[in-house]
Symmetry: C2
Subunit: 179 residues, 2 copies
């Protein structure tokens, strides 16, 4: 695919705001038509979404309360990649902590951007098949119930728009041909 | 589905940082286990993603440079809902401006959250079939090329993980059964 060189020039860059989970980088830029402008980029660590399937062909899912939107969402296990971890390490850790999943055969499905207009966050999608289940270890800020959802039902929920967490729906649909 | 009542208490709320496109609301909260904490919510207007299909069964797509990640992405037309607009009005406007699309039969496919761990943004997905093409009207900050991609190829690209804009990939896959 032919593409232009980097179309925006970055003149200067500073951190405009930050919290322990992400920060806003504010860049002075020159737009492609030569005008000065500002671009704010929410900088956030990569994250992982895991589609964990048991030997009984059930997807281990969570029904989770999300404070940002004051709604409950059906989701697959997910979490931010901590410094020093690889996405694969985070994926195994989140699977164990959120739904008590262990072992299984792991496949890297792909990467995507969550909201590339404002944020640099990359999501990595993993499929884990033949997952065994054990104890969960939820964090205090996580309000969730674990459910075992048959593969066909999980895919039907995604296709019907019932999985309102976009990355979780995308993860399930990207795994559909392998389930 | 049974669910608990709102599990977090909001004690106080203020705007911690803002720019013309979004802002960060900082809430003092009480976590479900009774401890004080802070939750930062990126507040952003709703947005729309449109899957526009011509009578020739081609999807009008854009290959767009994204400053946040310094990458080019395959995407479907999209944009933020401006104050006073409905999502459907924004969808028709973005279709016209980004890819020169007009008319067609419109279907509301569903809504999803882009990044519900940190942001309240809602994405609305529309399918438009029988779309006619005309002139585009790109904004200065938009660096994109318009392409007509056969339906089967667009879906194959999404399934292969080549559409790295998560919402665009989700929009295409959610429309797959109707294309």
């Amino acid at each position: 695919m032919t593409s232009d060189l980097r179309p925006f020039q970055t003149v200067s860059s500073r951190i405009a705001w930050s919290c322990p989970w992400y920060r806003v980088r504010q860049d002075d830029i020159i737009t492609p038509d030569g005008r000065p402008g500002v671009y704010n980029v929410v900088e956030k660590d990569d994250a992982v979404w895991i589609v964990p399937v048991t030997a009984e062909r059930e997807v281990l899912m969570v029904y989770q309360y999300r404070y940002t939107i004051d709604e409950w969402c059906w989701e697959v296990p997910a979490g931010s990649v901590k410094p020093g971890q690889t996405p694969a390490e985070t994926a195994r850790e989140e699977l164990r902590e959120e739904v008590g999943g262990q072992g299984g055969d792991w496949h890297y499905v792909g990467r995507f951007f969550l909201a590339n207009g404002i944020c640099n966050e990359v999501g990595h999608i993993f499929l884990a098949t033949g997952v065994a289940t054990g104890e969960t270890h939820h964090e205090a800020a996580e309000v969730m119930h674990v459910h075992r959802v048959p593969v066909a039902k999980a895919l039907a929920m995604a296709r019907a728009g019932e999985i309102t967490d976009g990355p979780s729906a995308l993860a399930l649909l990207l795994c559909a041909d392998r389930l």
